[in-house]
């Protein structure tokens, strides 16, 4: 196919098999039949011939236009690169059972909001405000779960976020969750990548897995934000444990140290209540407001109207031609016919 036609397409291609019908007007005029003794007796008449050709072309245009219109032609949306605000955001959400407790570490009662419910409410707002972003959602507890692949369908993203305050599962297994969240970024280069990690705890990452994660982070190079939903009384990211400073004694602190050692842009936010979560999300949003080049696919352009327009024009001419048909009684002299031919055709 020549490159000129490359951006064009049709919705139902089989309809185009009807296109040969457009050649029908060459053999069938559809005009009223009149008996004439000898057509050769009429002198050559350029005007009549041109009108005849015009009507044949009208017929071809009519049938062709209708068939093409039926097939649903369109021009494919082109990809345009624009400077805008947008990024690929991979959300990694902790679904361990403790997320269903309040920030005070209790079962929510009355107007109290669990950590999961607060994240659900605030993340929904976050998704709504960023129209150009693509989102992916990964959940994790004992095992990581791919909830939604990277998509720009924000309804689907909100549906996935709406499910995060359901009862959670067992444990917090951070390493596998991080690996899956990293795998959600596509191969596209030149798009800002954000890994938003929301959890209320941390776990020890096996040193062997640490190396694999380090390699994955170095390859993807996302901006990493850790929103740590801290339960009252539990250790902070920055607290040194009283005894030995091992990952087992202070997993949060050591996960933070691990993230810091990755040499990627990283910020940790510690939130001890819904308001603090809202502030943190607002700050992440502000940080990710840098204009970046993003590729956008414009919606495709429907060309059905043009096809029907051509068909309508052809039909108008055909209808007028039928209206202009004259009787041509056979008894008239051939001379008379020849003389009147232009008038008859032109009328």
């Amino acid at each position: 196919m020549p490159a000129v036609f490359a951006p064009y397409g049709v919705e139902t291609a089989w309809v185009l098999w009807l296109l040969p019908l457009a050649l029908l007007p060459i053999v069938a005029s559809g005009r009223r039949r009149s008996a004439v003794p000898a057509i050769a007796a009429a002198p050559a008449d350029p005007l009549s011939r041109r009108i005849g050709r015009a009507l044949t072309l009208s017929g071809i245009a009519t049938i062709g236009g209708l068939v093409v219109g039926l097939s649903g032609p369109y021009r494919a949306g082109e990809r345009i690169t624009r400077i805008g605000i947008g990024a690929q955001v991979s959300m990694l959400i902790d679904r361990s059972g403790s997320m269903n407790e309040t920030f005070a570490g209790k079962q929510p009662s009355g107007a109290e909001e669990s950590k999961a419910a607060a994240s659900r409410r605030l993340l929904s707002g976050f998704v709504g405000e960023r129209a150009h972003d693509h989102f992916a959602v990964t959940a994790f507890s004992t095992a990581p779960m791919l909830v939604l692949p990277m998509t720009d369908r924000h309804d689907a993203v909100r549906a996935a976020i709406a499910a995060i305050d359901r009862p959670g599962l067992d444990y917090t297994n951070v390493a596998r969750g991080l690996a899956m969240a990293l795998s959600q970024f596509g191969a596209d280069r030149g798009i800002a990548r954000v890994l938003l990690f929301i959890s209320d705890g941390a776990a020890v990452i096996d040193p062997r897995v640490q190396d694999q994660l380090r390699a994955a982070f170095a390859k993807v190079r996302p901006n990493l934000y850790w929103l740590f939903l801290r339960t009252k009384g539990s250790p902070s990211i920055h607290d040194r444990p009283a005894g030995e400073d091992t990952p087992q004694a202070a997993p949060e602190r050591h996960l933070d140290l691990f993230f810091k050692s990755l040499t990627i842009p990283y910020r940790a936010f510690e939130a001890e209540g819904p308001q603090a979560v809202a502030d943190a999300i607002a700050r992440i949003e502000a940080l990710e407001r840098d204009p970046i080049p993003s590729t956008e696919v414009r919606p495709r352009h429907d060309l059905t109207g043009w096809a029907y327009g051509v068909a309508a024009l052809g039909l108008l001419l055909l209808a007028l031609a039928v209206l202009a048909e004259a009787d041509l009684p056979a008894r008239r002299a051939v001379r008379r016919i020849a003389a009147d031919e232009p008038l008859r055709r032109a009328a």
Binding site: L18, L24, P25, V27, A28, S29, G30, R31, R32, R33, S34, I39, G52, G59, T62, I63, L66, V67, G69, L70, S141, T142, A143, M145, L146, V147, L148, P149, T151, R153, D155, A156, V157, A159, A160, A162, A163, R166, P167, L169, D170, T304, Y308, G309, A311, A312, L315, L316, L318, A319, V322, L323, A324, A326, D327, L328, A339, D340, L343, R344
Partner: protein
């Protein structure tokens, strides 16, 4: 010479002639196709919660595709993806995973056409490695899935092979405490009818053979012993209430437990269908779920265009037999 006797031009007769009328109607239809908006219509769709069993027995490869064995889970995923493509636009679907004793909701209902890409991607990404526990208490999971569907206001499509792990005490499922039939839907039985070995994986997810008879619990020995325990060899009320012999059985092999699933379906008021191939779920699902009136849209242009085309072809063909013969061709 020309003016001497004008050729009769019967415009009134032409106006009444059927060829003019046909072309005029075709012209009108084509003009209408240019301006007509998309029409709102009501369609019959579905709102479903899909819950997929991702426990170990779903890894059994007892389906075949292109001559190669395919696991139950892969077949179920393919069938659900096909189902999503077959449902009319405006239908909505939510997705949950089942293992242990409860479903885990991945997302609330989303539209199957506009959000098809993420929906299809999420279905394709389902993996047994997402399971958070090894148990498979299907009756409990089904009962909670029904509650979840009721909460979401959807119908239920529950895909499982029906193999309870550990086996039920006495083979009796716990009583269903909901109202049967309050949630409509379908239990889809995955798996072949013959017993097949269950693949076994190491902690890194690599396959390492199959389960043997002694690797799995063949009998549930929690709770009180069955009533016939006294007749077992080596029975002792205190030291060996289940008898002295190790339980034997075929729990390490798996087939679709159709009788059990049909019984569960009967108790909960759901329908049952067997998954024969990666497809064909469309009809049983539509029969089982509540038909929902959806706002659909209909593009009337193809209808108008097709009518116009038929009329034009009819006027052209009216003169075809004669005009094909050169002597009568009108030029």
């Amino acid at each position: 010479m020309i003016a001497a006797s004008p050729i009769p031009w019967p415009i009134a007769r032409n106006l009444r002639g059927w060829r003019f009328l046909a072309l005029a109607v075709a012209f009108g239809l084509t003009l209408a196709a240019l301006v007509v908006p998309v029409l709102p219509v009501t369609r019959i769709g579905a709102e479903i919660l899909m819950v997929v069993d991702i426990t170990g027995s779903m890894n059994v490869r007892d389906y075949a595709q292109d001559g190669k064995p395919v696991s139950r889970l892969d077949t179920a995923k393919a069938a659900l993806r096909r189902l999503m493509a077959d449902l009319p636009c405006g239908s909505r679907a939510a997705l949950g995973l089942f293992t242990e004793r409860r479903p885990f909701l991945l997302f609330t209902p989303i539209e199957v056409c506009a959000d098809f890409a993420p929906l299809d991607g999420a279905l394709a990404a389902i993996d047994w490695r997402m399971a958070w526990e090894g148990d498979s208490r299907i009756a409990a999971g089904l009962s909670r899935a029904i509650e979840m569907a009721a909460g979401l206001g959807t119908d239920l499509v529950f895909v499982t092979d029906g193999q309870e792990t550990p086996p039920l005490p006495g083979g009796e499922p716990p009583a269903f405490d909901g109202r049967p039939g309050a949630v409509r839907g379908l239990i889809v039985g995955a798996g072949a009818y013959a017993l097949s070995p269950i693949p076994r994986y190491d902690e890194l997810g690599r396959e390492k053979g199959f389960y043997g008879e002694t690797d799995v619990a063949q009998e549930n020995r929690f709770g009180p012993p069955p009533s016939d325990a006294e007749n077992r060899e080596g029975y002792n009320p205190r030291n060996a209430p289940f008898g002295a012999a190790a339980a034997r059985g075929t729990e390490h092999l798996s087939s679709v437990r159709e009788a059990y699933l049909k019984r569960l379906a009967g108790a909960t008021g759901l329908a049952y269908a067997h998954l024969d191939r990666p497809g064909g779920l469309d009809a049983p699902v539509r029969a089982a779920v509540t038909p929902r009136a959806l706002k659909g849209s209909l593009d009337p242009r193809p209808i108008l265009g097709a009518l116009a085309l038929a009329l034009v072809l009819a006027t052209l063909c009216a003169g075809l037999p004669l005009s094909l013969s050169p002597s009568a061709r009108m030029r």
